[in-house]
Symmetry: C2
Subunit: 146 residues, 2 copies
DNA sequence: ACATAGAGGACCGGAGAGGTCCTGTAAATA
DNA sequence: TATTTACAGGACCTCTCCGGTCCTCTATGT
């Protein structure tokens, strides 16, 4: 089913949760785990990775927590996914040339590149802000989706 | 990396190989395995599934083999993928409602639906014929891809 | 009848996803 | 400065499921 890993799925949910706060303030991992009802250890793991990739900023200590590194409108969903499960690509050749043993004899590589790009661009166009906007449908009009 | 299963990957390659034959004639599994350099048992497995799903027609017996069930222009890549790894969807909720335990408390479900649909439509628009057309770029223009 | 090729399974090993836990370090408060 | 809280960065484990093989049965042509 062309599955997204749970790590990436959780990441999207958590980013959206942070963006839901109108002030985009700081929330700690435990709080986010409760809000999203996701297992706390996983939430910690995901938040750490998102921080390392520069999508979140963290604050240690007693009133520590996480906050969006940039306004939600400037964070594409594709970045969230790639931070957690590597580059968005359907096939190995879309990630790095030479990573597929069949590359020399493969006749469908070029088309796959186009498909990969089309999908990447779709995920580039959706931002974290779109995930929390109530009237999402409007925001998605530009995707050409009914 | 938002991975496609190898089964589906092989399926696409095999469908393309069948479409490359200008007469779209019948080819047996062994022959296709040699042409694509994929392991023969896997080729058999994939071809069987594609046949069960009505994308290929098969002929048993001494001059048996497989051929496209329809003209390549009428076979979207999305069908090939879904025949081999189930419905195209990034999240469980995109496959069947109620399949995700977090559904009641999840706030990003609606946006995911739109994203799922955008990606599905991308894969719907590409046909097996596009995979073998030399000047693929032209065929992909309609995807809005550079 | 016999050789060939597909149909439909069962079956197996290993990689990797999903999940937990532990130790270290930074910050705030008293 | 001691203590508590929370993030940082791993190691580590379990178990599912993917990738792959193989075997038996049935259909077809010679």
């Amino acid at each position: 089913m062309l599955r997204l890993s749970k790590l990436a799925d959780y990441g999207v949910v958590l980013m959206a949760e942070l963006a839901r706060d109108p002030e985009c303030g700081s929330h700690n991992a435990r709080e986010l785990a409760e809000l999203t009802r996701l297992p706390f250890p996983m939430v910690g793991k995901v938040l750490k990775r998102l921080t390392r990739d520069g999508l979140l900023v963290s604050q240690r200590g007693i009133h520590g927590g996480y906050a969006l590194a940039r306004p939600a409108e400037q964070i594409p969903v594709s970045k969230v996914i790639s931070a957690l499960e590597g580059p968005v690509a359907l096939t190995a050749c879309g990630v790095a040339p030479g990573s597929c043993e069949h590359e020399p004899s493969c006749h469908v590589r070029t088309p796959w590149e186009y498909i990969n790009r089309a999908i990447t661009e779709t995920l580039d166009r959706v931002t974290v802000a779109d995930l929390v906007r109530p009237a999402s449908a409007i925001a998605f009009a530009e995707l050409g989706v009914r």
